[in-house]
Structures are given as structure tokens and as C-alpha cells.
């Protein structure tokens, strides 16, 4: 164990961990929303994320940027970010919608057992990831430098970079907006109602299909933005990265209490930081081990996650 490695880099490990955690959190939201409403682990959500990441990349490509381009000037940075964000959110929302239509709705109409959904989800996930893999010839794709990783200011000697600020601010903003939407709006209430008892919700005049579609669109858009942020931060994209990231995001959702939006945020950030500390302490190879170990230990003491479930059904 390398305590020195942990302590001497504590600040930076924290900031980079929080940044990664913010991305986990955004993706986790999609899992949590869909899980809350359909009681379904949407395994294909990782591919919704990937779709957004590729959409952002291709959008920049369409503007003639390639892996070696460096964008400068505040105006053009904002422009490229916004355009790519729209494209990514749209692409992800669309992918999510298509998955819902093709893989889940037919099953819902047949009132299939829950495990059947899990399998179509896995199937869709594999198929979409493979499609991207075949299209990119399984090669990693370089990403233009949209936001240079300059230090903006330092806190106690820990540099805070532009990318970190962008990631965390964007993630927080989306999260707050979503929280308002779910807890304050009528549609939000409809979402919670369908989550708890779809049949009774219908008896109250809630259109289940529309609500479910909303959930996929909202969750998808979040994942799309996460995809964009991933691109900016990592600088490289391979078709297969969704699987593990999705897994982590799902872990984050569970860690915070699945079905609980604020839980997703807490879980995501916690996971990001824990991973980085573990990398510092035990070496990077134990990073994922630590992530899952924390999950297991935490669930032992809090069987419904840090903040508990909220969208979901309480026991009657």
C-alpha cells in the first residue's frame, strides 16, 4: 500500500475523481429513471451513452475537426460545445427511444416476465455496441481538443482545469433541472405514479406509454451529454467503452439508492473519488476492485443504498 502516493496527491486525486464521478452520475440518472419506472436494468443504456459520444465526435468531424485540431477562442469553443451537445443529446435520446420501441414496448404489450426485458436489454446492448464496433473497424477514434486542459485556478495547490469545471458544472446543472422536473412537475408526478403502480396510474388518467417514452428521452439526453463530456475529457473513443462505464454508472445508481435521483449524483461522485483514491493507494489495477468492494460493503450496511429508494415502490 502506498499511503504516500495517496496523501501527496490527495487533492488532485479528488478533483479528477469528482470529474469522472460527474460523468458516472449523469449516466446513472438514466439507469435510475428507467429502473424507477419499469423496474428494469436498462442494460442498453451504456450504448445510449456511446451513441451520444459518437454523435458529438461526428458533429465535430462534420465541421472539419479531426483528432489533431485544437479549438481556440471562447466563442468557437462554446459554439462547438453547444452544437455537439445538442447533437449528442438528440442522438442519445433517439437511440433510447428506438430501444424502447423495438426492444421493450413489444414485450410490455405482451406483459412479458421481467427477466425477458433484461435479455432484450442485453441483446440490444450487444448488438448496438457491435454495430459501432464494426463501423469503426474496432479502432479507437481520436477526438479534437475542444477545451484545452488549462488550469484556471488552484485551490490549496491543486490545479482546477477548464475541463473539470465544464464537466462538473454541466453535470450539476442537468441534475438540478431534472430533480425539479421530476419532483415538481405534473409529468414528474406521472412518472412517479407509473413507477409505483402502472395500472392504477392508468386509472388516474396517466398515459403510460407517453410517460415511459419521456423517461427514455430524458434519461437518454442526459447520457448524451455525458457522452460529450466523456469525449472532451478522455480525448479518445472506442466502441466498447460503454460497457464498463455503464456498469460503473449502474453501480453508482445502486450505491446512491436506485430510483433515487439525488442518490445517483451522490453515488456517482463517491464512486469516482473512491476509484481514484484506490488507484493512489493500491495501484490503478485495483481501481475497479475497490469500486465494487465499496458497493458490496455499503449495501451490507444500507441495503437500499446511501439515500434509499425514492421513485420506487415502498413495501406496502
Amino acid at each position: 500500500m502506498d499511503f504516500d502516493g495517496l496523501f501527496s496527491n490527495f487533492g488532485e486525486l479528488t478533483t479528477t475523481g469528482l470529474t469522472q464521478g460527474a460523468i458516472y452520475a449523469l449516466v446513472a440518472l438514466g439507469y435510475t429513471l428507467v429502473y424507477g419506472v419499469l423496474r428494469l436494468i436498462n442494460f442498453a443504456h451504456s450504448e445510449v451513452f456511446i451513441a451520444g459520444a459518437f454523435a458529438a465526435l461526428w458533429t465535430w468531424g462534420a465541421f472539419g475537426l479531426d483528432q489533431d485540431s485544437v479549438v481556440t477562442g471562447f466563442g468557437s469553443i462554446v459554439f462547438y460545445l453547444l452544437v455537439a451537445m445538442l447533437a449528442a443529446a438528440a442522438a442519445s435520446a433517439l437511440t433510447a427511444t428506438v430501444i424502447e420501441r423495438v426492444a421493450y414496448r413489444p414485450l410490455r404489450q405482451r406483459n412479458a416476465p421481467p427477466l425477458a426485458f433484461l435479455i432484450t436489454a442485453i441483446g440490444a446492448s450487444i448488438a448496438i455496441a457491435e454495430a459501432f464496433g464494426i463501423y469503426t473497424r474496432r479502432l479507437p477514434q481520436g477526438i479534437p481538443t475542444i477545451v484545452a486542459n488549462d488550469t484556471v485556478f488552484s485551490v490549496a495547490g491543486v490545479p482546477i482545469t477548464k475541463v473539470q469545471i465544464l464537466t462538473i458544472v454541466a453535470a450539476l446543472a442537468m441534475m438540478i433541472a431534472l430533480d425539479f422536473f421530476i419532483n415538481r412537475s405534473r409529468i414528474g408526478r406521472g412518472i412517479r405514479a407509473v413507477a409505483q403502480d402502472p395500472n392504477t396510474a392508468a386509472l388516474m388518467g396517466v398515459n403510460k406509454d407517453r410517460i415511459i417514452l419521456m423517461v427514455f428521452i430524458v434519461g437518454g439526453a442526459m447520457a448524451g451529454v455525458a457522452g460529450l463530456l466523456y469525449d472532451v475529457r478522455i480525448g479518445n473513443l472506442t466502441y466498447s467503452v460503454g460497457f464498463l462505464l455503464g456498469l460503473k454508472a449502474f453501480t453508482a445508481a445502486v450505491l446512491g439508492g436506485i430510483g433515487n435521483l439525488r442518490g445517483a449524483l451522490v453515488g456517482g461522485l463517491l464512486l469516482g473519488v473512491v476509484e481514484n483514491y484506490a488507484s493512489g493507494l493500491f495501484g490503478s489495477e485495483w481501481k475497479d476492485f475497490a469500486a465494487f468492494a465499496v458497493l458490496v460493503v455499503l449495501l451490507m450496511f444500507r441495503p437500499t443504498g446511501l439515500l434509499g429508494e425514492s421513485l420506487g415502490r415502498a413495501r406496502a
Partner: protein, 236 residues
């Protein structure tokens, strides 16, 4: 006629649960539906609100054929049900549950008014407004279910055993509420095991036996029908 059901049949898998039921509910009426366990009362209610598709026959509401209409759209047409087993949203607070009743409505002030009225009708709910629906006692949940149905201000209110699980005092109260909201203009179709009370308050009633309507008449007629007395009122 507000509700006209003609020759409605319904299947559960291969089992026929309703064998061609016809019944009508006129604007402003209270109509009761009584029958033994497993007669098909709940099934009829489910068919009317669209939770179960019907195999044949038709359901007309306000002159429109709604047999193939989605459940939530039927609610928008003014048809609301307090279901058997109550159907409380367990993770939502009492207030949120009540708000769900008004899901299809947009008139804020009207909703606020109705909320006030429901909380007055059931002071227990007012006391527990922030408690999660799932942790209420059985009777409290029943109050919530009825209150929630009232919140949608339906044209036709379907109540499936609203008195189930309520204490004697509250049973009295529920039935007076039924009479009261009926007088205020809501039409009611009522399934009840408390046949005595139901028949006493209903304008008309139907008796259901193994998926068929075997008898119908005014409440008073059935109340004094010897066969009904023996089978459903427990007066030997």
C-alpha cells in the same frame, strides 16, 4: 344514458369470466352491483375502466363507444375508478396521491377546492398528509382511495367495495358521502358486499352470479326480494 353496456363478455385466458352482461347507468343515478365472491363484479369494473380488454359486446359512455379506448383516455372522458385493493401509490405521500387523482385536470383553483373538501371529509388524511401511502393502515388507505377518486371530479365514479376494511362508523360516513356527491351531480356505479346499505342507497341494482346478470330492479325491490335476502343479506 351515461353508461350503456351491451352483451359484454370477457375472458381470462380460456376461462370466460363474463358471459354477455348488459347494464345501464343513467345520468345522476347510483347503481349497485352485488354478487358473491368470484361472481365477476371486479371484472366488470375492470372492463369498464379499460384495464382488461373485452372479448365481445360494447361499452358506450356518453353516447361514444369506448370499448377499444385506452384506459387513461377513458379517464379523460370523465370516468374514474377507486379500484379493489385500493391501488395506493405506496411511495407517494398522501397529498401526492390525492394530486394524482386530479392528474387529468388543469383548473388549479378547482383542484385546490376539491382537495380541501376531501381533507375535510377525511380528517385522518389531513393529519397524515405527508405520510407515505404505503404505510397507512388498511382503512386509511381505503379513505385515500375514495378521496383520490373524488379528486378527479368524474362524471361517472366507479367504486369497488369502498367500505371494505372500514370501521363501522366510517362505513356510515362513506355511504353518506356517496349519497352526498351523487346529489351534487356525480353518477355512481357501486360494487358492494355490504348489500344492505348499498341497496338502501341505490336507485337501481343488478345481481351478478358467475358472470351473468340474474336479476335487476330498483334498490328497494331487491332489498325485499326473498332470494336476494337469503343469498346476499345473510338473513336466513
Amino acid at each position: 344514458m351515461l353508461l350503456e353496456i351491451e352483451d359484454m363478455s370477457l375472458l381470462y385466458g380460456r376461462i370466460k369470466a363474463l358471459h354477455g352482461i348488459s347494464l345501464t347507468v343513467d345520468e345522476g343515478e347510483v347503481v349497485a352491483l352485488i354478487g358473491a365472491n368470484g361472481a365477476g363484479k371486479t371484472t366488470t369494473m375492470r372492463a369498464i375502466s379499460g384495464i382488461r380488454p373485452i372479448a365481445s359486446g360494447s361499452i358506450r359512455f356518453n353516447g361514444e363507444d369506448i370499448s377499444k379506448l385506452r384506459a387513461d383516455l377513458r379517464v379523460r372522458r370523465g370516468l374514474c375508478q377507486a379500484p379493489e385493493g385500493r391501488g395506493i401509490f405506496p411511495g407517494m405521500t398522501v397529498l401526492d396521491n390525492l394530486d394524482m387523482g386530479a392528474y387529468t385536470r388543469r383548473d388549479r383553483s378547482g383542484i385546490a377546492q376539491d382537495l380541501k373538501r376531501v381533507l375535510e371529509l377525511f380528517p385522518r388524511l389531513a393529519e397524515r398528509r405527508k405520510q407515505a401511502g404505503g404505510t397507512l393502515s388498511g382503512g386509511e388507505q381505503q379513505m385515500l382511495a375514495v378521496g383520490r377518486a373524488l379528486m378527479s371530479r368524474p362524471k361517472l365514479l366507479l367504486l369497488d367495495e369502498p367500505s371494505m376494511g372500514l370501521a363501522p362508523m366510517l362505513i356510515q360516513q362513506i355511504f353518506s358521502i356517496i349519497t352526498e356527491i351523487n346529489q351534487q351531480g356525480t353518477t355512481i356505479l357501486l360494487v358492494e358486499q355490504n348489500a344492505q346499505q348499498a341497496l338502501a342507497r341505490a336507485h337501481r341494482a343488478y345481481v351478478l352470479e358467475t358472470g351473468r346478470i340474474v336479476k335487476s330492479g330498483t334498490g328497494a325491490e331487491l332489498l325485499h326480494d326473498p332470494a336476494v335476502k337469503e343469498a346476499y343479506l345473510g338473513v336466513a
